[in-house]
């Protein structure tokens, strides 16, 4: 799994490529924590190139969503690939975390 980051003002986007398995989830957690520490007001996790998402990855998304929301900030999952979208639908995350979330400049 690879993570590339882009920062526009106080908006951080993490583009994830490959498999978000248990080890990948740990890596993702480190990056979301770093974005929060850096003062991100909005975090987008772009999953358009993620091919796999397990529950450990969902746990990181949920924890980050809660932490951002509790401090009045925003967190979105953006453009999930079909494989990842199926997982988000099956677990009830899609409706509350993805819909309507499209960071500027993303297709």
């Amino acid at each position: 799994m690879e993570i590339s980051k882009s920062i526009t003002n106080e908006s951080h986007e993490l583009l994830i490529s490959g498999r978000i398995d248990g080890a990948g989830a740990n890596q993702l957690e480190l990056e979301t924590l770093a974005a929060m520490r850096a003062g991100a007001k909005t975090i987008y996790v772009n999953l358009s190139q993620a091919t796999f998402l397990c529950s450990a990855g969902l746990r990181v998304l949920l924890q980050t969503w809660r932490q951002m929301k509790s401090s009045g900030k925003s967190f979105y999952v953006a453009n999930p690939s079909p494989e990842v979208d199926a997982v988000l639908v099956m677990t009830g995350f899609r409706e509350q975390m993805v819909e309507g979330a499209r960071p500027p400049g993303l297709a």
Partner: protein
């Protein structure tokens, strides 16, 4: 009929990559449809992650044995570990309609495994958990 694919994994999260590779190789060898591969891959990863993360009270090295096979049109995985007894079939269901604010953090992996597989069986033999996952090849 092809021979089953058997391998063992150490109880470290880094082994999940190898598990994924083995599942992909097995699936390619049997020309499994992408939707079946995805479901099988995710379900196995969830169960093995569960063993690695919660199965053992000590910090010692433990081995997880995995056997992938075809039985007619059924794709089957048998996973054996020496962790604490845990039957995934007795795990309470997850309410996926609950708001994320109040959603419990755990349980989603087993929820997905049970939802994706056509069959999940559990038995305890001595000090071993043995879980068998099955899914129809046709998907």
């Amino acid at each position: 009929m092809t021979a089953p694919l058997e391998f063992r994994l150490c109880n470290q999260l880094g082994e999940l990559r190898r598990l994924g590779d083995e599942v992909q190789n097995f699936s390619a060898a049997h020309r499994l449809p992408p939707a079946v591969v995805q479901a099988f891959d995710l379900s196995l990863a969830e169960w093995v992650t569960n063993i690695i993360s919660y199965g053992h009270a000590d910090a010692e090295e433990h081995w997880i044995q995995v056997r992938l096979s075809m039985a007619g049109d059924l794709v089957q995985a048998e996973v054996m570990d020496d962790g604490r007894a845990f039957n995934p079939l007795t795990h309470p269901p997850v309410d996926t309609t609950a708001p994320l604010e109040t959603r419990p953090i755990g349980g989603l992996g087993i929820h997905m495994m049970r939802k994706l597989m056509d069959g999940v069986e559990y038995r305890r033999e001595g000090a071993k958990n043995i879980v068998t996952l099955t899914i129809q090849r046709a998907g």
